[in-house]
Symmetry: C2
């Protein structure tokens, strides 16, 4: 499933100094960061599960990023 919208990704690329950005480039970067987000989210969910919590907290995300 595709969740991350292309508009903010396009702004990030422009803010990096790009004059123009192809639609494919926006899609490519959006897909890349979405994959990373899904991997971190999976790991964070495991971390919270082990801690027997139903709520994902910022520390779960931080630990997940460290673990990956």
């Amino acid at each position: 499933m595709s969740e991350i919208p292309k508009a903010p990704i396009a702004r990030i690329i422009k803010e990096a100094g790009a004059e123009r950005v192809s639609e494919d480039a926006k899609a490519e970067l959006a897909a890349y960061v979405e994959e990373i987000a899904r991997n971190v989210a999976k790991e964070a969910t495991q971390v919270a599960k082990i801690a027997k919590r139903k709520t994902i907290k910022a520390d779960d995300i931080k630990l997940a990023i460290k673990n990956l």
Copy 2:
């Protein structure tokens, strides 16, 4: 600057199996993927500059991801 919205990040975390997600957790993951997106975008802009192109293409993003 903060570009990536928290709503799609929250959906990604829920799709990973989380029951509830704290606001701080959403903000943490959004900030993490935004930082990655900015780093890739900077590298891709350099790649396109070297190739004397004003438009960032998907291949620039792919090469930037490889380079980082």
